[in-house]
Symmetry: C2
Subunit: 133 residues, 2 copies
């Protein structure tokens, strides 16, 4: 398949409820996960809900990481959407699963932008000449 | 099914290549789509890539809207992740399909946070008392 993006939809169950209600910690963890994956963070925005829950997104050169937490249910919805072949999404996922104390997870992998062009598809470039189109 | 979130993964093909390379316009359209859906925008961050492509995310009270564009392929990856029963994701999608000039689209709907609790699940509250947990 000739595609542009790789999207992991991750359900994290039975997480550390106190930690997933801590917006500062969640932002730290997501930024660290981006680093671990080898992706490049561009911008991020995180929000703490009242009385509980956190939403946050890191836009990366290679698409985005996002998380939404429901501490009252011990649940987090995590998305790791990347493009290119060099990003190690699984390493980021292993790190977050461990740090969030997830008791169980479910992962669905979706290929995004499946295009019928007879050439190798290149993801959007930022700095690296290797990726330049 | 008892679930927390509704996630539309949308592939938009054959879009207006000039428009999907315009970060200002893409941000305007995504924010307008959020409004049309009835969701509440909290924060947003958009980035223009060089030489082409835009990535942007709007964090909403009800999760997020995100878009990544590849003008060189006329393609956009759109995600509309919402919680609660009052958000009209389809209206936002119809608006964006039209505005981006998409020649064709494909939509995958994924339920997020399917939990085995014997109670009605409530999404995270912000202001509305109706949604308060």
């Amino acid at each position: 398949m000739n595609y542009l993006g790789n999207h992991l939809l991750v359900e994290l169950y039975n997480c550390n409820t106190s930690l997933i209600n801590n917006v500062v910690k969640i932002e730290e963890l997501l930024l660290e996960a981006v680093k671990i994956s080898g992706a490049t963070a561009l911008n991020s925005t995180f929000h703490k809900f009242s009385p509980h829950g956190v939403s946050g997104v890191v836009v990366i050169s290679e698409s985005h990481f996002s998380i939404h937490t429901w501490p009252e249910y011990g649940y987090c919805a995590l998305d790791i959407f990347t493009c290119g072949t060099e990003i190690k999404s699984e390493k980021a996922l292993d790190f977050l699963k461990e740090e969030l104390g997830a008791g169980s997870i479910s992962v669905t992998e979706v290929k995004r932008g499946i295009l019928d062009f007879p050439v190798k598809l290149l993801h959007k470039p930022e700095v690296s000449e290797k990726c330049a189109i």
